[in-house]
């Protein structure tokens, strides 16, 4: 494995993007990952405040009509290579808001989602498993 690939997968800085309508439960579960119980800094994963520093965008919540443009612009501003992770039932499909008038677009119609982590909300273990699978995919393992 080259140093480049190793560096990209061993130091994933994540940016947390709540796409409009969300009950905040997924957001709270994401913050759980940083607590001493799960401690994802072991794997070099850090939460950053600026999209320019991010290597992964965690999208939560159902995408509202107003948020579509903002989400697009956030993704365009990210320094590439950058992966997109959809977390929770709302961001993966549209969850219970599939027929909502204010949430016409699923997240993956706007952003190139690399991995889906379903659940309402997904457990922190599920998110870690998702990240492990994503790293395996990036490193070219089957």
């Amino acid at each position: 494995m080259s140093l480049k690939l190793k560096a990209l997968t061993k130091s994933i800085w994540v940016y947390h993007l709540c796409a409009g309508g969300s009950c905040n439960n997924c957001d709270i579960e994401i913050l759980d990952l940083l607590t001493p119980r799960y401690d994802v800094e072991r794997f070099g994963i850090m939460l950053v405040g600026s999209i320019k520093h991010a290597d992964a965008i965690l999208v939560t919540g159902s995408l509202t009509r107003k948020a579509v443009e903002c989400v697009k612009r956030v993704y365009e501003q990210a320094a590439k290579p950058c992966v997109v992770i959809a977390i929770g039932a709302c961001a993966c499909g549209q969850g219970m808001f599939a027929n909502g008038p204010n949430t016409p677009d699923p997240v993956d119609s706007v952003l190139p989602v690399d991995i889906y982590i379903p659940g309402c909300p997904p457990k922190p273990e599920a998110m870690i498993l998702g990240i492990v699978k994503l790293i395996g995919k990036l490193r070219g393992k089957k």
């Binding site: 140093l3 480049k4 190793k6 560096a7 990209l8 061993k10 130091s11 001493p36 401690d39 800094e41 072991r42 070099g44 950053v48 405040g49 600026s50 320019k52 520093h53 290597d55 501003q77 990210a78 320094a79 590439k80 290579p81």
Partner: protein, 310 residues
């Protein structure tokens, strides 16, 4: 006396600047210190913490990422600022290492003052780069950094006056080390001790660590001064900060504590890490009040005590 060709002298200086003890050596020591900082922070918070190569691999990753430039940015300043800041830190750490390691012929009269100015340049470059990016949050961060700079420079200069008074006006780092070797470290006197405490607080603010990290405050202004930087420019800014974590404790142990040794560096690093982990972030007005009222007062007392020979 033996003639040494100018080419050889230049090569030696380049070697000193780039490899040992300048850029590479300081960067390696700084990466190790940065890992210790993160690991100890993690242990304090009852976590496991990152592996030993984490700071290095962060820098590698940042350097292969795309550089994004904001639309309204002033490009020359935005690109130049991190490089100038890094070279200032490299230069000051080269001076400090040479003064400590190569006893005999290095340095010049007044290099203490030169280093005082060189250590200010990274902050100024950070202010310039952040202002050039055109981001409102970066502007908030830059304004906080300016206020912090104004706050800590005054007590820092006062604290540095104490060793100069005590050594009857020596302005050369090696002379200061030699003087302390003959007469005992300045920090063993009451005035030198007070000045060193002031300098330690100023060091924390210069490094931009908690409790004085309001310029980058990632929970309120999203990394503030760093917000628009990405890719290798961000890596250089991080490296500047990491190297300052070597240069500043080195400076303090040279000026107040009789020269560098590994245990002195470890003690200063432990003080930095403990202060960082046991304090909340203060507001900028609280920091200003702290430095201008309390620290300047203590520093002036230290200067007066030094003048009457205590």
């Amino acid at each position: 006396m033996e003639e040494v060709s100018p080419v050889k002298i230049m090569l030696k200086h380049l070697f000193n600047f780039i490899i040992f003890p300048g850029f590479l050596f300081t960067a390696v020591v700084g990466l190790a210190a940065s890992w210790i900082d993160r690991k100890v922070t993690a242990r304090v918070q009852w976590r496991v913490g990152p592996p030993w190569y984490q700071p290095f691999i962060d820098l590698v990753k940042l350097s292969i990422k795309e550089i994004t430039v904001p639309k309204g940015a002033s490009k020359p300043v935005f690109f130049m600022a991190p490089f100038i800041g890094l070279s200032a830190v490299i230069l000051s750490s080269t001076f400090l290492w040479l003064a400590n390691l190569e006893l005999g012929a290095s340095g010049f009269t007044g290099d203490l003052i030169v280093i005082l100015y060189l250590l200010t340049i990274p902050s100024i470059m950070l202010i310039l780069g952040a202002s050039a990016s055109g981001n409102p949050l970066a502007a908030v961060g830059a304004s906080r950094e300016i206020k912090l700079l104004l706050a800590y420079e005054l007590p820092f200069v006062f604290a540095l006056v104490v060793p100069i008074i005590k050594s009857n006006g020596l302005l050369k780092l090696q002379d200061l080390i030699a003087f302390q070797a003959a007469n005992g470290a300045f920090a063993s006197n009451i005035s030198g001790f007070l000045a060193m405490i002031v300098a330690i607080f100023c060091m924390q603010a210069k490094l931009g660590l908690v409790p004085f990290d309001m310029a980058e405050a990632e929970t309120e202004i999203m990394a503030g001064v760093y917000i628009e930087y990405s890719g290798i420019l961000l890596a250089i800014l991080k490296l500047t900060k990491i190297m300052a974590m070597v240069a500043l404790p080195l400076f303090l142990s040279t000026v107040f504590w009789g020269g560098f040794s590994i245990w002195k560096y470890v003690v200063l690093l432990v003080i930095i890490i403990l202060m960082r982990n046991t304090n909340p972030r203060v507001r900028i007005d609280q920091a200003l009040r702290f430095f201008w009222k309390k620290m300047t007062f203590v520093a002036i007392i230290a200067v007066l005590l030094a003048m009457i020979g205590m």
